[in-house]
Symmetry: C2
Subunit: 222 residues, 2 copies
């Protein structure tokens, strides 16, 4: 399966790219608004994977080039750019493409980080509004810390919560998430349930701030 | 320490009462708007604890009678009654009393349960607005399922997230939460961070609805 990480040059995009490249045989394509930057970062990821003995099927290009032909298209960009990023590639989306939204809007004040709900209710719903009709949007991966993923020696033991209005697309993402060693994917139903998932992320940062020895936190349900 | 569970005749109040009675030597007082009902429920709880070999220091009375002399006063009532409940006992609060808010506002539609943020930002902040100046309010226990607590044979292995503007009060609650076997308490800082904690609760219900074999879910951070 071809997986595009739009804006995959940093943060959660980097983490997912490295883990999928390490743990699966999928074709990983790093997209960037600047194709040159996408290629440079892909080379950097391949080198890091190779230090871990992984020969990765991982390349870099423009966001439109990455989206073209990909079954799964992840908008791994800051929340303010999520809708624009998907709009910029809407004509390049493959038949049966699934768009995945991992972004979270947050604001910070003197008391910590807070969830900043967009007009649509959640970033995932904002992305869905910008996505062509008939292309399913799945919300996932918000509660994984980039640092926990990019440190490839770190053993994950975490849950990922999946929501979206298309049950088949949710299942594709559930499987894809669980192909990463140490992740369990849970189904949260409709995309309207994404806000409660997104809003856990600022709490994870606050907990890391207020509790000694905790960092790059994730969650487990039990 | 004397702990009052206002509206402790059902749900999370019942769960906390049984667990504190079982695992600690604190004096537990069940409050109800109807003192008779408080007493009846307390007798019922004592009988259930006694079946588990626990001789509990647990009694029942009115909400005002429960609040009087208590170091910790938990507003374990439905969210719509939380502010009124604390207003009804404000003249009975002891010096150094700490008010604890475990309630969560939710709405349900065809897609599942959703967090229903009150005007003040969270139920805990709503309770704080109704609490006399100088009495600290702590947000805690929202993400524990009543069913997981009331089944005394169920081994807990869960996190409780504590927030509040008074660091000393947060510490009292952190300790009190961890006196229940199997609970770990984490500090989330200011009361303004309560919304993100409260909003996990509808997600827990949605996950139990959409994932086979999951029920009475709680959370662990790692």
């Amino acid at each position: 399966m071809r997986i595009a990480l739009l804006g995959g040059t940093g943060n959660i995009g980097e983490g997912l790219a490295l883990r999928w490249a390490q743990d699966t045989d999928h074709e990983i394509v790093i997209g960037s608004r600047n194709a040159e930057k996408g290629m440079t970062r892909a080379r950097d990821y391949r080198n890091r994977l190779s230090e871990h003995g992984v020969e990765a099927d991982l390349s870099g290009t423009s966001n439109t080039g990455a989206a073209a032909g990909s079954r799964v298209v992840v908008t791994s960009v800051p929340p303010a750019y999520a809708a624009d990023t998907i709009e910029a590639v809407r004509d390049d989306l493959a038949d049966k493409a699934i768009v995945v939204s991992p972004a979270v809007g947050m604001v910070r004040d003197e008391t910590g980080f807070h969830y900043d709900a967009p007009e649509a209710g959640s970033i995932a719903e904002t992305v869905a509004a910008a996505t062509p009709d008939g292309v399913p949007v799945v919300s996932a991966f918000q509660n994984l810390a980039a640092g926990a993923l990019t440190d490839l020696s770190n053993e994950l033991n975490l849950d990922v919560v999946i929501s979206g209005d298309d049950a088949e697309a949710r299942n594709v993402l559930k499987k894809l998430a669980e192909e990463i060693n140490g992740l369990r994917a849970l189904d949260a139903g409709a995309l309207a349930n994404s806000a409660e998932i997104e809003s856990i992320t600022p709490l994870l940062i606050n907990l890391a701030m207020y509790n000694d020895g905790m960092h790059d936190l994730g969650i487990q349900f039990r």
